[in-house]
Amino acid sequence: MLRQLRRPNLAVGGGIVVLLIIIAVFAPLIAPHDPIHDANLMYAGEPPSTAFWLGTDDQGRDIFSRIVYGARIALTVGLLVEMMNAAIGIALGLSAGYFGGWWDEFVQGLTNVMLAVPTIVFALALMAVMGPGIPSLLVALGLTDWAYSCRISRAQVLSMKSSPFIQAARTMGYGPGHIMLRELLPNIAGPLIVVATMGVGSAIMAEASLSFLGLGVVPPAPSWGSMLAGAREQLIVAPWIAVFPGLAIFVTVLGFNLLGDGLRDLLDPQGRSRR
Protein backbone atom coordinates (compact mmCIF):
# COMPACT_ATOMS: atom_id res chain seq x y z
CA MET A 1 0.00 0.00 0.00
CA LEU A 2 2.81 2.40 0.92
CA ARG A 3 4.39 1.81 -2.44
CA GLN A 4 1.29 3.17 -4.17
CA LEU A 5 1.87 6.52 -2.50
CA ARG A 6 5.22 6.72 -4.20
CA ARG A 7 3.42 7.18 -7.49
CA PRO A 8 3.54 10.97 -7.78
CA ASN A 9 0.42 11.32 -9.95
CA LEU A 10 -1.73 9.38 -7.58
CA ALA A 11 -0.38 11.13 -4.48
CA VAL A 12 -0.59 14.68 -5.87
CA GLY A 13 -3.91 14.16 -7.64
CA GLY A 14 -5.42 12.34 -4.71
CA GLY A 15 -4.12 15.00 -2.34
CA ILE A 16 -5.69 17.82 -4.33
CA VAL A 17 -9.04 16.03 -4.58
CA VAL A 18 -9.13 15.15 -0.89
CA LEU A 19 -8.26 18.74 0.01
CA LEU A 20 -11.05 20.00 -2.25
CA ILE A 21 -13.56 17.73 -0.62
CA ILE A 22 -12.50 18.88 2.84
CA ILE A 23 -12.77 22.51 1.73
CA ALA A 24 -16.21 21.95 0.27
CA VAL A 25 -17.56 20.08 3.28
CA PHE A 26 -16.20 22.48 5.87
CA ALA A 27 -16.66 25.64 3.81
CA PRO A 28 -18.53 27.56 6.55
CA LEU A 29 -15.71 26.85 9.01
CA ILE A 30 -12.94 27.76 6.60
CA ALA A 31 -14.31 30.84 4.90
CA PRO A 32 -13.78 33.99 6.98
CA HIS A 33 -16.65 35.85 5.27
CA ASP A 34 -20.03 35.09 3.80
CA PRO A 35 -19.52 34.57 0.06
CA ILE A 36 -22.65 36.43 -1.04
CA HIS A 37 -24.00 38.68 1.68
CA ASP A 38 -20.78 40.23 2.90
CA ALA A 39 -20.75 42.58 -0.05
CA ASN A 40 -19.42 45.96 0.97
CA LEU A 41 -18.64 48.45 -1.72
CA MET A 42 -16.28 50.19 0.71
CA TYR A 43 -13.90 47.35 0.26
CA ALA A 44 -14.48 46.82 -3.46
CA GLY A 45 -11.40 45.80 -5.44
CA GLU A 46 -9.05 45.48 -2.47
CA PRO A 47 -5.81 43.68 -3.28
CA PRO A 48 -4.78 40.65 -1.18
CA SER A 49 -4.17 41.59 2.44
CA THR A 50 -4.32 40.05 5.89
CA ALA A 51 -8.02 40.92 6.11
CA PHE A 52 -8.86 39.60 2.64
CA TRP A 53 -6.30 36.90 1.85
CA LEU A 54 -6.97 36.86 -1.85
CA GLY A 55 -8.40 40.33 -2.15
CA THR A 56 -11.98 41.39 -2.82
CA ASP A 57 -14.03 41.62 -5.97
CA ASP A 58 -15.77 44.62 -7.51
CA GLN A 59 -18.58 44.34 -4.97
CA GLY A 60 -16.24 44.03 -2.03
CA ARG A 61 -16.85 40.29 -1.44
CA ASP A 62 -13.96 38.24 -0.08
CA ILE A 63 -12.51 36.23 -3.00
CA PHE A 64 -11.06 33.54 -0.73
CA SER A 65 -14.46 32.87 0.82
CA ARG A 66 -16.11 32.80 -2.59
CA ILE A 67 -13.55 30.33 -3.89
CA VAL A 68 -14.06 28.14 -0.83
CA TYR A 69 -17.83 28.11 -1.36
CA GLY A 70 -17.27 27.76 -5.09
CA ALA A 71 -15.64 24.41 -4.41
CA ARG A 72 -19.04 23.17 -3.23
CA ILE A 73 -20.67 24.11 -6.52
CA ALA A 74 -17.79 22.78 -8.59
CA LEU A 75 -17.66 19.43 -6.82
CA THR A 76 -21.43 18.96 -6.66
CA VAL A 77 -21.88 19.77 -10.31
CA GLY A 78 -18.79 17.80 -11.33
CA LEU A 79 -19.72 14.64 -9.45
CA LEU A 80 -23.43 14.65 -10.30
CA VAL A 81 -22.76 15.38 -13.95
CA GLU A 82 -20.16 12.64 -14.18
CA MET A 83 -22.44 10.17 -12.42
CA MET A 84 -25.11 10.83 -15.02
CA ASN A 85 -22.61 10.60 -17.86
CA ALA A 86 -21.08 7.41 -16.54
CA ALA A 87 -24.47 5.81 -16.03
CA ILE A 88 -25.59 6.63 -19.56
CA GLY A 89 -22.27 5.75 -21.15
CA ILE A 90 -21.83 2.48 -19.31
CA ALA A 91 -25.41 1.38 -19.88
CA LEU A 92 -25.15 2.09 -23.60
CA GLY A 93 -21.63 0.71 -23.99
CA LEU A 94 -22.25 -2.48 -22.02
CA SER A 95 -25.44 -3.32 -23.84
CA ALA A 96 -24.07 -2.38 -27.27
CA GLY A 97 -20.96 -4.49 -26.75
CA TYR A 98 -22.84 -7.44 -25.32
CA PHE A 99 -25.80 -7.61 -27.70
CA GLY A 100 -24.15 -6.34 -30.86
CA GLY A 101 -26.30 -6.16 -33.98
CA TRP A 102 -28.53 -3.20 -34.79
CA TRP A 103 -28.44 -1.89 -31.23
CA ASP A 104 -24.67 -1.74 -31.35
CA GLU A 105 -24.76 0.07 -34.71
CA PHE A 106 -27.27 2.55 -33.35
CA VAL A 107 -25.28 3.26 -30.19
CA GLN A 108 -22.07 3.61 -32.16
CA GLY A 109 -23.74 6.07 -34.51
CA LEU A 110 -25.04 8.09 -31.59
CA THR A 111 -21.61 8.06 -29.96
CA ASN A 112 -19.98 9.28 -33.13
CA VAL A 113 -22.44 12.16 -33.38
CA MET A 114 -21.75 13.11 -29.75
CA LEU A 115 -18.03 13.00 -30.39
CA ALA A 116 -18.26 14.97 -33.62
CA VAL A 117 -20.05 17.93 -32.05
CA PRO A 118 -18.19 19.56 -29.14
CA THR A 119 -19.91 18.83 -25.84
CA ILE A 120 -20.04 22.50 -24.96
CA VAL A 121 -22.05 23.27 -28.09
CA PHE A 122 -24.62 20.65 -27.18
CA ALA A 123 -24.74 21.93 -23.65
CA LEU A 124 -25.04 25.52 -24.87
CA ALA A 125 -28.01 24.59 -27.01
CA LEU A 126 -29.73 22.77 -24.16
CA MET A 127 -29.01 25.59 -21.70
CA ALA A 128 -30.41 28.10 -24.17
CA VAL A 129 -33.65 26.15 -24.24
CA MET A 130 -33.90 25.46 -20.50
CA GLY A 131 -32.46 28.73 -19.22
CA PRO A 132 -29.61 29.15 -16.73
CA GLY A 133 -29.43 27.61 -13.27
CA ILE A 134 -27.90 24.59 -11.61
CA PRO A 135 -30.69 22.07 -12.44
CA SER A 136 -30.56 22.79 -16.15
CA LEU A 137 -26.76 22.81 -15.96
CA LEU A 138 -26.84 19.30 -14.55
CA VAL A 139 -29.18 18.11 -17.26
CA ALA A 140 -27.27 19.82 -20.06
CA LEU A 141 -23.86 18.49 -19.03
CA GLY A 142 -25.07 15.16 -17.70
CA LEU A 143 -26.68 14.18 -20.98
CA THR A 144 -23.90 15.21 -23.31
CA ASP A 145 -20.51 13.91 -22.22
CA TRP A 146 -20.96 10.15 -22.03
CA ALA A 147 -19.27 9.20 -25.30
CA TYR A 148 -15.93 8.17 -23.79
CA SER A 149 -17.45 6.02 -21.07
CA CYS A 150 -19.59 4.41 -23.72
CA ARG A 151 -16.72 3.70 -26.08
CA ILE A 152 -14.48 2.32 -23.39
CA SER A 153 -17.08 0.08 -21.82
CA ARG A 154 -18.06 -1.21 -25.26
CA ALA A 155 -14.45 -1.98 -26.19
CA GLN A 156 -13.85 -3.71 -22.87
CA VAL A 157 -16.98 -5.80 -23.20
CA LEU A 158 -16.05 -6.82 -26.73
CA SER A 159 -12.68 -8.07 -25.58
CA MET A 160 -14.15 -9.90 -22.62
CA LYS A 161 -17.48 -11.27 -23.70
CA SER A 162 -16.05 -14.36 -25.36
CA SER A 163 -13.85 -15.30 -22.42
CA PRO A 164 -14.67 -18.67 -20.91
CA PHE A 165 -16.00 -17.30 -17.64
CA ILE A 166 -18.67 -15.35 -19.52
CA GLN A 167 -19.49 -18.44 -21.59
CA ALA A 168 -19.64 -20.41 -18.37
CA ALA A 169 -22.16 -17.93 -16.98
CA ARG A 170 -24.24 -18.28 -20.12
CA THR A 171 -24.20 -22.07 -20.00
CA MET A 172 -25.20 -21.82 -16.34
CA GLY A 173 -28.44 -20.22 -17.50
CA TYR A 174 -27.79 -16.66 -16.39
CA GLY A 175 -29.60 -13.97 -18.38
CA PRO A 176 -28.06 -10.95 -20.09
CA GLY A 177 -28.79 -8.61 -17.16
CA HIS A 178 -26.87 -10.71 -14.69
CA ILE A 179 -24.00 -11.26 -17.10
CA MET A 180 -23.63 -7.56 -17.88
CA LEU A 181 -23.95 -6.27 -14.33
CA ARG A 182 -22.44 -9.06 -12.26
CA GLU A 183 -19.91 -10.71 -14.53
CA LEU A 184 -18.76 -8.01 -16.96
CA LEU A 185 -19.11 -4.73 -15.08
CA PRO A 186 -16.91 -5.60 -12.07
CA ASN A 187 -14.19 -6.72 -14.46
CA ILE A 188 -14.19 -3.60 -16.58
CA ALA A 189 -14.60 -1.19 -13.66
CA GLY A 190 -10.91 -0.26 -13.58
CA PRO A 191 -10.67 1.68 -16.85
CA LEU A 192 -14.15 3.11 -16.30
CA ILE A 193 -13.11 4.57 -12.95
CA VAL A 194 -10.19 6.25 -14.68
CA VAL A 195 -12.44 7.75 -17.35
CA ALA A 196 -14.99 8.86 -14.77
CA THR A 197 -12.35 10.53 -12.60
CA MET A 198 -11.06 12.54 -15.50
CA GLY A 199 -14.66 13.19 -16.48
CA VAL A 200 -15.25 14.97 -13.18
CA GLY A 201 -12.44 17.33 -14.11
CA SER A 202 -13.89 18.11 -17.49
CA ALA A 203 -17.39 18.51 -16.03
CA ILE A 204 -16.04 21.12 -13.62
CA MET A 205 -14.35 22.81 -16.53
CA ALA A 206 -17.58 22.76 -18.52
CA GLU A 207 -19.53 24.16 -15.60
CA ALA A 208 -17.01 26.99 -15.28
CA SER A 209 -17.19 27.67 -19.01
CA LEU A 210 -20.98 27.81 -19.08
CA SER A 211 -21.07 29.96 -15.97
CA PHE A 212 -18.48 32.23 -17.52
CA LEU A 213 -20.79 32.64 -20.48
CA GLY A 214 -23.60 33.46 -18.09
CA LEU A 215 -25.54 30.30 -18.87
CA GLY A 216 -24.59 28.22 -15.86
CA VAL A 217 -24.75 29.12 -12.21
CA VAL A 218 -26.69 32.34 -11.73
CA PRO A 219 -24.46 35.22 -10.58
CA PRO A 220 -24.64 35.87 -6.87
CA ALA A 221 -23.83 32.20 -6.25
CA PRO A 222 -20.05 31.82 -6.08
CA SER A 223 -19.21 29.72 -9.15
CA TRP A 224 -15.60 29.95 -10.24
CA GLY A 225 -16.69 30.45 -13.82
CA SER A 226 -19.02 33.33 -13.06
CA MET A 227 -16.36 34.87 -10.79
CA LEU A 228 -14.05 34.87 -13.79
CA ALA A 229 -16.74 36.43 -15.94
CA GLY A 230 -17.27 39.20 -13.42
CA ALA A 231 -13.57 39.91 -13.33
CA ARG A 232 -13.25 40.65 -17.02
CA GLU A 233 -13.53 44.40 -16.75
CA GLN A 234 -11.06 44.72 -13.90
CA LEU A 235 -8.44 42.43 -15.40
CA ILE A 236 -5.85 45.23 -15.63
CA VAL A 237 -6.62 47.13 -12.44
CA ALA A 238 -7.44 44.19 -10.17
CA PRO A 239 -5.97 41.03 -11.68
CA TRP A 240 -6.45 39.02 -8.47
CA ILE A 241 -10.19 38.93 -9.09
CA ALA A 242 -9.55 36.81 -12.15
CA VAL A 243 -6.34 35.04 -11.23
CA PHE A 244 -7.47 33.22 -8.10
CA PRO A 245 -10.71 31.68 -9.43
CA GLY A 246 -8.78 30.74 -12.56
CA LEU A 247 -6.13 29.11 -10.43
CA ALA A 248 -8.81 27.21 -8.51
CA ILE A 249 -10.25 25.83 -11.75
CA PHE A 250 -6.79 24.95 -13.00
CA VAL A 251 -5.70 23.15 -9.83
CA THR A 252 -9.00 21.29 -9.53
CA VAL A 253 -9.05 20.01 -13.09
CA LEU A 254 -5.36 19.13 -12.86
CA GLY A 255 -6.03 17.28 -9.62
CA PHE A 256 -8.73 15.10 -11.15
CA ASN A 257 -6.63 14.42 -14.22
CA LEU A 258 -3.60 13.44 -12.15
CA LEU A 259 -5.76 11.23 -10.00
CA GLY A 260 -7.19 9.58 -13.11
CA ASP A 261 -3.69 9.04 -14.48
CA GLY A 262 -2.52 7.61 -11.20
CA LEU A 263 -5.51 5.30 -11.00
CA ARG A 264 -4.79 4.11 -14.50
CA ASP A 265 -1.24 3.18 -13.50
CA LEU A 266 -2.63 1.49 -10.43
CA LEU A 267 -5.54 -0.39 -12.00
CA ASP A 268 -4.33 -1.24 -15.48
CA PRO A 269 -1.29 -3.43 -14.88
CA GLN A 270 -3.38 -5.49 -12.51
CA GLY A 271 -6.08 -5.76 -15.13
CA ARG A 272 -3.58 -7.03 -17.64
CA SER A 273 -1.95 -9.59 -15.37
CA ARG A 274 -5.28 -10.91 -14.14
CA ARG A 275 -5.96 -13.49 -16.82
Binding site: P164, A168, T171, G173, P186
Partner: protein, 336 residues
Amino acid sequence: MTDTATRQDGPGPVLRLQDLHVHYEVRTGQGFGQVPLKAVDGVDLQIRPGECLGLVGESGCGKSSLAQAVMGLVPATSGVIELDGRTDWDRSAATRLARARTVQMVFQDPFSSLNPRQSIATSLGGPLRLHGVTNRSERADRVAEMLRKVGLNPDAARRYPHEFSGGQRQRICIARALIVDPKLVVCDEPVSALDVSIRAQIINLLLQLKDELGVALLMISHDLGVVEHMSDRIAVMYLGRIVEEGAWNAIFSDPAHPYTRTLISAIPDPERADIGHERLRGEAPSALAPPPGCAFHPRCTQAFAPCREGAVPAFTRLAEDHRARCHLLTKDTESR
Protein backbone atom coordinates in the same frame (compact mmCIF):
# COMPACT_ATOMS: atom_id res chain seq x y z
CA MET B 1 -33.68 -28.57 -9.45
CA THR B 2 -33.90 -32.08 -10.68
CA ASP B 3 -33.27 -34.46 -7.86
CA THR B 4 -31.08 -37.45 -8.62
CA ALA B 5 -33.69 -39.78 -7.24
CA THR B 6 -36.48 -38.56 -9.51
CA ARG B 7 -34.27 -38.51 -12.54
CA GLN B 8 -35.40 -40.88 -15.25
CA ASP B 9 -32.32 -42.43 -16.74
CA GLY B 10 -34.28 -44.38 -19.27
CA PRO B 11 -32.78 -45.91 -22.36
CA GLY B 12 -32.85 -42.58 -24.26
CA PRO B 13 -29.53 -40.85 -24.97
CA VAL B 14 -28.58 -37.70 -23.02
CA LEU B 15 -27.45 -36.13 -26.27
CA ARG B 16 -28.54 -36.88 -29.80
CA LEU B 17 -27.34 -34.78 -32.71
CA GLN B 18 -29.12 -35.21 -36.00
CA ASP B 19 -27.57 -33.75 -39.12
CA LEU B 20 -26.16 -30.84 -37.14
CA HIS B 21 -24.77 -27.97 -39.19
CA VAL B 22 -22.98 -24.99 -37.73
CA HIS B 23 -22.01 -22.48 -40.39
CA TYR B 24 -20.47 -19.08 -39.85
CA GLU B 25 -20.51 -16.23 -42.32
CA VAL B 26 -16.92 -15.18 -42.80
CA ARG B 27 -15.68 -12.06 -44.53
CA THR B 28 -12.83 -13.02 -46.76
CA GLY B 29 -9.91 -10.76 -47.55
CA GLN B 30 -10.83 -10.62 -51.20
CA GLY B 31 -14.03 -9.06 -52.49
CA PHE B 32 -17.02 -7.98 -50.48
CA GLY B 33 -19.03 -11.15 -50.17
CA GLN B 34 -19.36 -13.43 -47.19
CA VAL B 35 -18.41 -17.05 -47.43
CA PRO B 36 -20.00 -19.73 -45.26
CA LEU B 37 -17.48 -21.52 -43.08
CA LYS B 38 -18.93 -24.96 -42.51
CA ALA B 39 -17.46 -25.65 -39.09
CA VAL B 40 -19.86 -28.50 -38.45
CA ASP B 41 -21.28 -30.01 -41.61
CA GLY B 42 -23.82 -32.72 -40.94
CA VAL B 43 -22.97 -34.53 -37.72
CA ASP B 44 -24.99 -37.36 -36.18
CA LEU B 45 -23.89 -38.34 -32.72
CA GLN B 46 -25.33 -39.91 -29.60
CA ILE B 47 -24.18 -40.04 -26.03
CA ARG B 48 -25.82 -42.49 -23.68
CA PRO B 49 -26.33 -41.78 -19.99
CA GLY B 50 -23.17 -42.19 -17.96
CA GLU B 51 -21.03 -42.73 -21.03
CA CYS B 52 -17.82 -40.95 -21.99
CA LEU B 53 -17.62 -40.11 -25.67
CA GLY B 54 -14.23 -38.95 -26.89
CA LEU B 55 -14.23 -36.49 -29.78
CA VAL B 56 -10.85 -36.10 -31.49
CA GLY B 57 -9.56 -34.09 -34.39
CA GLU B 58 -7.07 -31.43 -35.39
CA SER B 59 -7.62 -27.77 -34.62
CA GLY B 60 -10.17 -26.33 -37.00
CA CYS B 61 -11.99 -29.62 -37.50
CA GLY B 62 -15.10 -28.21 -35.86
CA LYS B 63 -15.03 -30.04 -32.55
CA SER B 64 -15.21 -26.86 -30.51
CA SER B 65 -18.02 -25.46 -32.67
CA LEU B 66 -19.91 -28.68 -32.08
CA ALA B 67 -19.46 -28.24 -28.33
CA GLN B 68 -20.57 -24.62 -28.47
CA ALA B 69 -23.66 -25.56 -30.44
CA VAL B 70 -24.54 -28.25 -27.91
CA MET B 71 -24.19 -25.65 -25.16
CA GLY B 72 -26.29 -23.13 -27.05
CA LEU B 73 -23.39 -20.69 -27.19
CA VAL B 74 -23.59 -20.55 -30.98
CA PRO B 75 -26.78 -21.15 -32.94
CA ALA B 76 -27.08 -24.32 -34.97
CA THR B 77 -27.59 -23.51 -38.65
CA SER B 78 -29.74 -26.58 -39.11
CA GLY B 79 -30.24 -30.00 -37.61
CA VAL B 80 -31.54 -31.29 -34.32
CA ILE B 81 -29.93 -31.01 -30.92
CA GLU B 82 -31.77 -33.33 -28.58
CA LEU B 83 -30.75 -33.06 -24.96
CA ASP B 84 -32.37 -35.49 -22.56
CA GLY B 85 -35.26 -35.99 -24.97
CA ARG B 86 -35.91 -32.33 -25.56
CA THR B 87 -35.34 -30.58 -28.88
CA ASP B 88 -37.08 -27.19 -28.63
CA TRP B 89 -34.48 -24.69 -27.51
CA ASP B 90 -35.89 -21.17 -27.71
CA ARG B 91 -34.33 -18.18 -26.01
CA SER B 92 -36.67 -17.96 -23.04
CA ALA B 93 -35.33 -17.94 -19.51
CA ALA B 94 -37.08 -21.19 -18.62
CA THR B 95 -35.46 -22.97 -21.57
CA ARG B 96 -32.09 -21.53 -20.66
CA LEU B 97 -32.36 -22.91 -17.15
CA ALA B 98 -33.62 -26.30 -18.30
CA ARG B 99 -30.70 -26.60 -20.70
CA ALA B 100 -28.25 -25.61 -17.98
CA ARG B 101 -29.57 -28.39 -15.75
CA THR B 102 -29.07 -30.90 -18.55
CA VAL B 103 -25.68 -30.00 -19.91
CA GLN B 104 -22.70 -28.14 -18.44
CA MET B 105 -19.23 -27.37 -19.72
CA VAL B 106 -15.63 -27.42 -18.53
CA PHE B 107 -13.36 -25.15 -20.55
CA GLN B 108 -9.76 -25.49 -21.61
CA ASP B 109 -8.15 -22.59 -19.80
CA PRO B 110 -8.81 -22.73 -16.07
CA PHE B 111 -7.26 -19.29 -15.67
CA SER B 112 -9.95 -17.48 -17.63
CA SER B 113 -12.91 -19.73 -16.83
CA LEU B 114 -13.58 -18.27 -13.41
CA ASN B 115 -14.70 -14.71 -12.80
CA PRO B 116 -11.66 -13.15 -11.09
CA ARG B 117 -13.91 -10.83 -9.07
CA GLN B 118 -16.08 -13.55 -7.58
CA SER B 119 -15.24 -15.73 -4.61
CA ILE B 120 -15.55 -19.46 -5.15
CA ALA B 121 -18.65 -19.41 -2.94
CA THR B 122 -20.28 -16.96 -5.36
CA SER B 123 -19.11 -18.80 -8.47
CA LEU B 124 -20.61 -22.06 -7.20
CA GLY B 125 -23.43 -20.82 -4.99
CA GLY B 126 -24.79 -18.30 -7.49
CA PRO B 127 -25.86 -21.00 -9.94
CA LEU B 128 -27.57 -22.88 -7.09
CA ARG B 129 -29.61 -19.81 -6.23
CA LEU B 130 -30.40 -19.26 -9.90
CA HIS B 131 -31.68 -22.81 -10.06
CA GLY B 132 -33.95 -22.46 -7.10
CA VAL B 133 -31.97 -23.26 -3.95
CA THR B 134 -33.14 -20.27 -1.93
CA ASN B 135 -31.87 -21.34 1.48
CA ARG B 136 -28.48 -19.78 2.10
CA SER B 137 -27.15 -22.43 4.44
CA GLU B 138 -28.29 -25.20 2.12
CA ARG B 139 -26.34 -23.51 -0.66
CA ALA B 140 -23.24 -23.29 1.52
CA ASP B 141 -23.57 -26.95 2.42
CA ARG B 142 -23.89 -28.02 -1.18
CA VAL B 143 -20.93 -25.87 -2.24
CA ALA B 144 -18.82 -27.41 0.52
CA GLU B 145 -19.92 -30.91 -0.43
CA MET B 146 -19.13 -30.34 -4.09
CA LEU B 147 -15.70 -28.89 -3.25
CA ARG B 148 -14.96 -31.99 -1.22
CA LYS B 149 -16.08 -34.17 -4.13
CA VAL B 150 -13.55 -32.56 -6.45
CA GLY B 151 -10.82 -32.96 -3.87
CA LEU B 152 -10.67 -29.47 -2.45
CA ASN B 153 -10.94 -28.22 1.09
CA PRO B 154 -14.37 -26.60 1.67
CA ASP B 155 -12.49 -23.56 3.00
CA ALA B 156 -11.74 -22.82 -0.63
CA ALA B 157 -15.21 -21.27 -0.91
CA ARG B 158 -14.04 -18.12 0.84
CA ARG B 159 -11.14 -17.55 -1.51
CA TYR B 160 -10.76 -16.03 -4.96
CA PRO B 161 -9.58 -17.68 -8.20
CA HIS B 162 -6.12 -16.06 -8.19
CA GLU B 163 -5.28 -17.86 -4.96
CA PHE B 164 -5.41 -21.24 -6.70
CA SER B 165 -3.08 -23.11 -9.04
CA GLY B 166 -4.17 -24.18 -12.51
CA GLY B 167 -5.06 -27.68 -11.41
CA GLN B 168 -7.07 -26.43 -8.44
CA ARG B 169 -8.92 -23.98 -10.65
CA GLN B 170 -9.84 -26.76 -13.03
CA ARG B 171 -11.20 -28.68 -10.04
CA ILE B 172 -13.30 -25.64 -9.17
CA CYS B 173 -14.55 -25.43 -12.75
CA ILE B 174 -15.53 -29.09 -12.61
CA ALA B 175 -17.32 -28.45 -9.32
CA ARG B 176 -19.18 -25.53 -10.87
CA ALA B 177 -20.25 -27.66 -13.83
CA LEU B 178 -21.50 -30.44 -11.57
CA ILE B 179 -23.22 -28.34 -8.94
CA VAL B 180 -26.49 -28.11 -10.89
CA ASP B 181 -26.43 -31.88 -11.29
CA PRO B 182 -26.34 -32.07 -15.11
CA LYS B 183 -26.64 -35.28 -17.09
CA LEU B 184 -23.87 -34.38 -19.53
CA VAL B 185 -20.66 -32.43 -19.08
CA VAL B 186 -18.91 -31.19 -22.20
CA CYS B 187 -15.16 -31.06 -21.52
CA ASP B 188 -13.34 -28.99 -24.15
CA GLU B 189 -9.65 -29.88 -23.83
CA PRO B 190 -9.88 -29.81 -20.04
CA VAL B 191 -6.28 -30.86 -19.41
CA SER B 192 -4.29 -29.47 -22.31
CA ALA B 193 -3.50 -26.21 -20.50
CA LEU B 194 -2.26 -28.05 -17.43
CA ASP B 195 1.14 -29.38 -16.45
CA VAL B 196 1.76 -33.05 -17.06
CA SER B 197 1.77 -34.00 -13.38
CA ILE B 198 -1.53 -32.16 -12.86
CA ARG B 199 -3.20 -33.69 -15.92
CA ALA B 200 -3.30 -37.11 -14.34
CA GLN B 201 -5.07 -35.67 -11.28
CA ILE B 202 -7.80 -34.06 -13.38
CA ILE B 203 -8.25 -37.09 -15.65
CA ASN B 204 -8.59 -39.39 -12.64
CA LEU B 205 -11.02 -36.97 -11.02
CA LEU B 206 -13.25 -36.77 -14.11
CA LEU B 207 -13.38 -40.56 -14.42
CA GLN B 208 -14.08 -40.97 -10.73
CA LEU B 209 -16.91 -38.41 -10.83
CA LYS B 210 -18.35 -40.04 -13.93
CA ASP B 211 -18.61 -43.34 -12.07
CA GLU B 212 -19.75 -41.79 -8.81
CA LEU B 213 -22.43 -39.46 -10.21
CA GLY B 214 -23.33 -41.31 -13.39
CA VAL B 215 -22.80 -38.17 -15.46
CA ALA B 216 -22.05 -38.57 -19.15
CA LEU B 217 -18.95 -36.85 -20.60
CA LEU B 218 -18.26 -35.44 -24.02
CA MET B 219 -14.47 -35.40 -23.90
CA ILE B 220 -13.05 -33.17 -26.61
CA SER B 221 -9.32 -33.43 -27.09
CA HIS B 222 -6.58 -33.50 -29.64
CA ASP B 223 -4.63 -35.85 -27.37
CA LEU B 224 -5.37 -39.42 -28.36
CA GLY B 225 -3.68 -40.75 -25.24
CA VAL B 226 -6.12 -38.87 -23.03
CA VAL B 227 -9.09 -39.85 -25.18
CA GLU B 228 -8.14 -43.51 -25.27
CA HIS B 229 -7.70 -43.60 -21.54
CA MET B 230 -11.04 -41.94 -20.75
CA SER B 231 -13.53 -42.80 -23.45
CA ASP B 232 -16.07 -45.58 -23.82
CA ARG B 233 -16.65 -44.62 -27.42
CA ILE B 234 -14.65 -42.38 -29.72
CA ALA B 235 -15.64 -40.20 -32.67
CA VAL B 236 -12.98 -38.86 -35.03
CA MET B 237 -13.79 -35.56 -36.69
CA TYR B 238 -12.26 -34.13 -39.85
CA LEU B 239 -13.31 -30.87 -41.50
CA GLY B 240 -16.77 -30.70 -39.98
CA ARG B 241 -17.72 -34.35 -40.31
CA ILE B 242 -17.36 -37.47 -38.23
CA VAL B 243 -15.16 -39.82 -40.26
CA GLU B 244 -15.02 -42.72 -37.85
CA GLU B 245 -16.92 -43.67 -34.75
CA GLY B 246 -16.74 -46.72 -32.56
CA ALA B 247 -15.95 -48.33 -29.25
CA TRP B 248 -12.61 -47.13 -27.89
CA ASN B 249 -10.85 -50.44 -28.29
CA ALA B 250 -12.13 -50.84 -31.85
CA ILE B 251 -10.82 -47.42 -32.79
CA PHE B 252 -7.38 -48.14 -31.38
CA SER B 253 -6.90 -51.79 -32.22
CA ASP B 254 -8.69 -51.73 -35.56
CA PRO B 255 -8.83 -48.20 -36.97
CA ALA B 256 -10.66 -48.20 -40.28
CA HIS B 257 -10.18 -44.69 -41.62
CA PRO B 258 -6.72 -43.70 -42.91
CA TYR B 259 -7.03 -40.44 -40.98
CA THR B 260 -7.58 -42.27 -37.71
CA ARG B 261 -4.55 -44.40 -38.44
CA THR B 262 -2.31 -41.41 -39.08
CA LEU B 263 -3.58 -39.68 -35.95
CA ILE B 264 -2.68 -42.73 -33.90
CA SER B 265 0.73 -43.11 -35.45
CA ALA B 266 1.55 -39.43 -34.93
CA ILE B 267 1.61 -39.86 -31.16
CA PRO B 268 5.22 -39.74 -30.02
CA ASP B 269 5.89 -42.70 -27.81
CA PRO B 270 9.39 -44.13 -27.66
CA GLU B 271 8.10 -47.57 -26.79
CA ARG B 272 5.92 -47.75 -29.87
CA ALA B 273 8.58 -46.90 -32.42
CA ASP B 274 7.28 -49.68 -34.68
CA ILE B 275 4.15 -47.81 -35.74
CA GLY B 276 5.54 -44.30 -35.63
CA HIS B 277 6.05 -43.91 -39.35
CA GLU B 278 2.72 -43.36 -41.00
CA ARG B 279 3.05 -39.63 -41.50
CA LEU B 280 0.57 -37.17 -42.88
CA ARG B 281 1.92 -34.90 -45.55
CA GLY B 282 0.51 -31.42 -45.78
CA GLU B 283 -1.86 -29.61 -43.50
CA ALA B 284 -5.59 -29.76 -43.08
CA PRO B 285 -7.36 -27.80 -45.84
CA SER B 286 -9.42 -24.80 -44.83
CA ALA B 287 -13.05 -25.41 -43.98
CA LEU B 288 -13.79 -22.38 -46.18
CA ALA B 289 -12.85 -24.37 -49.26
CA PRO B 290 -13.12 -28.07 -48.42
CA PRO B 291 -11.85 -30.40 -51.14
CA PRO B 292 -14.51 -32.17 -53.21
CA GLY B 293 -15.22 -35.82 -52.62
CA CYS B 294 -13.70 -37.13 -49.45
CA ALA B 295 -12.28 -34.07 -47.67
CA PHE B 296 -9.29 -36.10 -46.54
CA HIS B 297 -8.15 -37.21 -50.01
CA PRO B 298 -5.38 -34.59 -50.57
CA ARG B 299 -3.54 -35.94 -47.52
CA CYS B 300 -4.47 -39.57 -47.89
CA THR B 301 -1.81 -41.99 -49.10
CA GLN B 302 -4.40 -44.49 -50.30
CA ALA B 303 -6.72 -42.14 -52.16
CA PHE B 304 -8.10 -43.43 -55.46
CA ALA B 305 -10.40 -41.99 -58.11
CA PRO B 306 -13.74 -42.07 -56.20
CA CYS B 307 -12.15 -40.23 -53.26
CA ARG B 308 -11.26 -37.32 -55.52
CA GLU B 309 -14.27 -37.24 -57.81
CA GLY B 310 -17.02 -39.15 -56.08
CA ALA B 311 -19.44 -38.07 -53.41
CA VAL B 312 -18.66 -37.57 -49.77
CA PRO B 313 -18.24 -41.16 -48.62
CA ALA B 314 -21.15 -42.51 -46.62
CA PHE B 315 -20.76 -44.41 -43.39
CA THR B 316 -19.84 -48.05 -43.74
CA ARG B 317 -20.91 -50.22 -40.85
CA LEU B 318 -17.95 -52.31 -39.75
CA ALA B 319 -19.25 -53.84 -36.57
CA GLU B 320 -21.87 -53.22 -33.98
CA ASP B 321 -21.15 -49.65 -32.95
CA HIS B 322 -18.20 -49.12 -35.32
CA ARG B 323 -18.56 -47.19 -38.55
CA ALA B 324 -16.36 -45.09 -40.81
CA ARG B 325 -16.72 -42.88 -43.86
CA CYS B 326 -14.17 -44.06 -46.41
CA HIS B 327 -14.42 -45.18 -50.02
CA LEU B 328 -11.74 -47.78 -49.40
CA LEU B 329 -14.10 -49.69 -47.15
CA THR B 330 -16.75 -50.08 -49.83
CA LYS B 331 -14.07 -50.88 -52.41
CA ASP B 332 -12.98 -53.79 -50.25
CA THR B 333 -16.49 -55.17 -49.90
CA GLU B 334 -17.12 -54.83 -53.61
CA SER B 335 -13.96 -56.64 -54.63
CA ARG B 336 -14.48 -59.43 -52.16
